[in-house]
């Protein structure tokens, strides 16, 4: 039976998480706008987050297996905070980048190479 027919379970969450992760990476890799890139980062982190939460939930866990329990949720919270902090820093850097280059196009920053 396939994912689509079976009831929502752990694997569905994981699939979504994986998709988020991939989207994030591709977004980072394709967006020229700094903010877009930062969004990509958020997507990646949240993909991981989703995994943690899913693994942590006692409902989704197959019976008789050890899970990570509350740790999952806790880590998710921490990651959210981390993401926020990182976003702040990244935005600040983006700002100074904008000051320096008068644009937020990351492709303009190609002085350093080789």
């Amino acid at each position: 039976m396939s994912l689509f027919t079976e009831p929502i379970g752990l694997s569905h969450f994981l699939v979504v998480g994986a998709v988020l992760f991939v989207c994030g990476v591709i977004c980072m890799a394709t967006k020229r706008n700094v903010l877009g890139v930062l969004m990509g980062i958020e997507l990646v982190l949240n993909g991981a987050n989703l995994n943690f939460v899913a693994f942590g939930s006692s409902v989704l866990r197959p019976a008789g297996t050890e899970g990570i329990g509350m740790d999952g949720q806790m880590i998710a919270l921490f990651v959210i905070v981390l993401a926020a902090a990182e976003a702040a820093v990244a935005l600040a850097i983006a700002l100074s980048y904008y000051h320096a280059h008068a644009t937020v196009d990351v492709d303009r920053g190609d002085e350093l190479k080789g």
Binding site: I26, M28, A29, T30, R32, V106, D107, R108, L112
Partner: protein, 740 residues
């Protein structure tokens, strides 16, 4: 008083005195009087004193070993005095020492060398006097065409002379082969220095190099011989070598010692002889001696006539017991070729000194021939007599050159009246070398100048050998005969062209004058020697022959039996050669050819009945051959020198082109790789990312059209790296698990 201790002492003194004078002149030479004129007295004093000492030593020797007629041939054999002065190096059983090996031969050599050397030293006073002041050397032109003016080098000349005397005496007294080799090289270097005495002249320095290098070729062979002996017998000392090769147990007959196969024994003999070939200018290494005449005439007289070149013969004589018959045969052949070759060249040479040089080579050939045929005494005797008359001849020629200022005989002539002493002494010399004398008539035995006796012995030995080995024996005898004939021819040709007839070059003739007493004196002394050298003291048994007879190597009295390789070649016993039947034939034939040569010379140059030019024309091919010295120099240049130089250039090229090329390029290669890698970093990475990006686009993902920029490329590479690593690890994993 024990001669075993006193004689070595005397000889050591006689040997070291010249060294002392050398050191003194080397250090203070130029400060000895004006232009160092007193250095001459020092050197001469030294050599004269050592001459006296040598004769004293001889006297002591005679007190023990007075030769008796009764002793007969090889009857009384005197024990040689051998010992060591100090040790050079010691490796377990192997010892290398400075020692001595003294028998009557050594003593005779000492007396001869010192005596001749003293004469020549005195002679040099006069001959070299121009070196006292500044010298103008027309033969060394400067780049601006002017002749070179240089300081005189009077003291240097005597300094080198002293060094030479030291080396020569050391060579004679040497107690082992290594020591012989040491002084062998030293005399070589002395001759190099003295040949190149006029070092500004290109010809002189070339001749010096030629002499030394050709000698080195000989020494190379000698080293091989040394190696064989050293490794086989574990010693260099003559006494031990002889006792091993000719043990008493075997009645002093030649036998191969353990550790040395017969082949190696032959090789050793050949090697040693090879050294002698170089030193004594035998074929094929004879080419250096004529060029060596670039040196001052006293040098030619002392080194290149009387002593050094004889050293080769001396060594052959000294090492005689170790030579197998095969080696002796080789020696004979070489000697035979040499004496003929050199004589032919001497016939056509016009440079007075070169004529003498070639005659020297030829005479040395005679000695080698004699030794090779087993005529030990003959060879040695000829060595001594030749030393006397050849040095005399050279000194005379020197006096002539000194008077005329040229070496070319065609520019001389008619000097008889101008320089009577020189001409007469030279005539004596010619007679001596030609072997003038009265052969054995009924009853009374043959009698003549010194050369007569020695040559007579050689002829006799040759004849005897031919009878002993009828197969090929006669060749040697006839070659010797022809050689003797040519000898008398070119010697008298020389005398006639120089002294007889009317002057050819008025300018030269007008300047000519008799030399000062310092030069004529030695001439007269040597002339006397040239006459009497081979005689016994009247009414005694005391003379060169019996003296040398004492030194005859033990076990060779009865000749040398056939060897392993050539069993049927036997060197006959020498005393048989003096049997009446044999010697009378030899003497008369020798006398006849000598006379013939004399008459021819008279006919050509004395009475001018025949014109040399006709002869040249008739025999033009031969003449060309002779006058070009058989094209030996050209041959060597073509076969040896140029190839070596070319090879050395190749080697140089290899170094530059190949090895360095490799080294440099490997370095460059690394750098190139680096650049490539850098290039990869710049281009390849970006492009892959581009490719990757385009690929993602073309896969029709629902992405917008994307353009790659640096940061994003990096991120892309992050993902790519992840995937790549994963794939790699998977591959590795499958491989590893599959591999077990």
């Amino acid at each position: 008083m024990d001669i075993n201790s006193i004689i070595p002492l005397l000889l050591a003194l006689a040997w070291l005195l010249p060294l002392g004078s050398f050191a003194l002149i080397f250090l203070f030479g130029p400060r000895m009087g004006r232009a160092g004129r007193y250095s001459a007295y020092l050197a001469t004093g030294a050599i004269v004193v050592s001459c006296v000492l040598s004769f004293a030593a001889l006297g002591f020797w005679l007190t023990e070993h007075y030769p008796h007629a009764a002793a007969g041939h090889g009857g009384h054999v005197a024990q040689p005095i051998s010992g060591e002065w100090y040790t050079l190096a010691e490796f377990g059983r192997l010892r290398l020492t400075i020692g001595y090996y003294i028998d009557s031969l050594t003593l005779a050599m000492f007396c001869m060398v010192t005596l001749v050397a003293s004469c020549i030293h005195v002679y040099s006073f006069g001959y070299m006097h121009e070196e006292l002041s500044d010298v103008t050397d027309p033969l060394a032109p400067l780049s601006n065409g002017q002749p070179l003016r240089r300081r005189g080098r009077y003291c240097r000349f005597f300094q080198y002379f002293s060094l030479f005397c030291f080396s020569m005496l050391g060579l004679v007294v040497a107690g082992n082969l290594a020591m012989v080799f040491v002084f062998w090289e030293l005399v070589g270097i002395c001759s190099y220095l003295l040949i190149g005495f006029y070092r500004e002249r290109r010809s002189a320095s070339n001749a010096g190099n030629k002499a030394f290098i050709v000698n080195r070729v000989g020494d190379f062979g000698m080293i091989v011989g040394l190696m064989a002996i050293w490794t086989g017998l574990g010693t260099f000392s003559f006494a031990e070598i002889f006792s091993q090769v000719r043990p008493i147990a075997a009645g002093h007959q030649l036998q191969t010692p353990e550790g040395l196969s017969y082949g190696l024994l032959v090789l050793a003999g050949l090697g040693i002889f090879c050294g002698c070939v170089g030193k004594s200018a035998q074929f094929p290494l004879h080419v250096w001696l004529p060029d060596a005449m670039e040196g001052p005439t006293p040098v030619s007289a002392l080194i290149h006539a009387a002593t050094m070149v004889a050293a080769g013969v001396y060594l052959v004589g000294r090492f005689f017991p170790v030579f197998t018959p095969e080696v002796l045969l080789v020696i004979a052949v070489v000697g035979c070729i040499t004496l003929f070759l050199a004589a032919t060249i001497a016939i056509t040479a016009t440079d007075i000194k070169r004529v003498l040089a070639y005659s020297t080579v030829s005479q040395l050939g005679f000695m080698m021939l004699a030794l090779g045929l087993g005529g030990w005494l003959a060879g040695m005797l000829h060595l001594f007599t030749h030393a006397c008359f050849k040095s005399l001849l050279f000194l005379c020629s020197g006096s002539v050159i000194h008077a005329c200022g040229t070496n070319e005989m065609p520019e001389m002539g008619g000097l008889r009246r101008k320089m009577p002493i020189t001409s007469i002494t030279m005539l004596i010399g010619c007679l001596a070398i030609a072997g003038a004398g009265i052969p054995t008539l009924i009853g009374m035995s043959g009698f003549g100048l010194s050369g007569f006796h020695s040559k007579d012995y050689i002829m006799a030995q040759g004849l005897l050998f031919s009878t002993a080995n009828p197969g090929f024996g006669p060749i040697f005898f006839y070659a010797a005969l022809i050689g003797a004939g040519m000898t008398s021819f070119y010697m008298f040709r020389l005398w006639y062209m120089t002294f007889a007839g009317r002057p050819r070059d008025e300018h030269v003739h007008s300047h000519a004058h008799e030399s000062p007493l310092s030069m004529t004196g030695p001439l007269m002394v040597l002339a006397v020697l040239a006459v009497v050298a081979a005689w016994n003291l009247p009414f005694t048994e005391l003379g060169l022959k019996p003296l040398l007879e004492q030194a005859r190597p033990v076990g060779t009295v009865e000749g040398v039996a056939g060897g392993m390789l050539l069993p049927n070649v036997a060197m006959p016993a020498e005393h048989l050669a003096h049997e009446y039947a044999n010697s009378v034939k030899a003497e008369w034939s020798a006398f006849a050819v000598a006379l013939l040569g004399f008459l021819l010379a008279t006919a050509f140059y004395g009475l001018r009945k025949l014109d040399p030019a006709d002869a040249r024309r008739t025999f033009s091919p031969l003449y060309k051959l002779f006058v070009h010295k058989w094209w030996f120099d050209e041959l060597y240049a073509l076969l040896l020198i140029r190839p070596v130089l070319r090879i050395s250039n190749w080697v140089e090229a290899i170094d530059k082109r190949v090895i360095d090329w490799l080294a440099d390029n490997s370095a460059r290669a690394v750098a190139a790789v680096a650049r490539l890698d850098d290039w990869i970093d710049r281009i390849f990475v970006d492009n892959t990312v581009n490719l990757l990006a385009r690929w993602t686009y073309s896969t029709g993902l629902w992405l917008r059209r994307l353009q790659t920029g640096n940061v994003r490329q990096y991120v892309m590479w992050l993902g790519a790296g992840l995937v790549g690593l994963f794939v790699l690890m998977n591959l590795y994993w499958n491989y590893a698990t599959a591999g077990g």
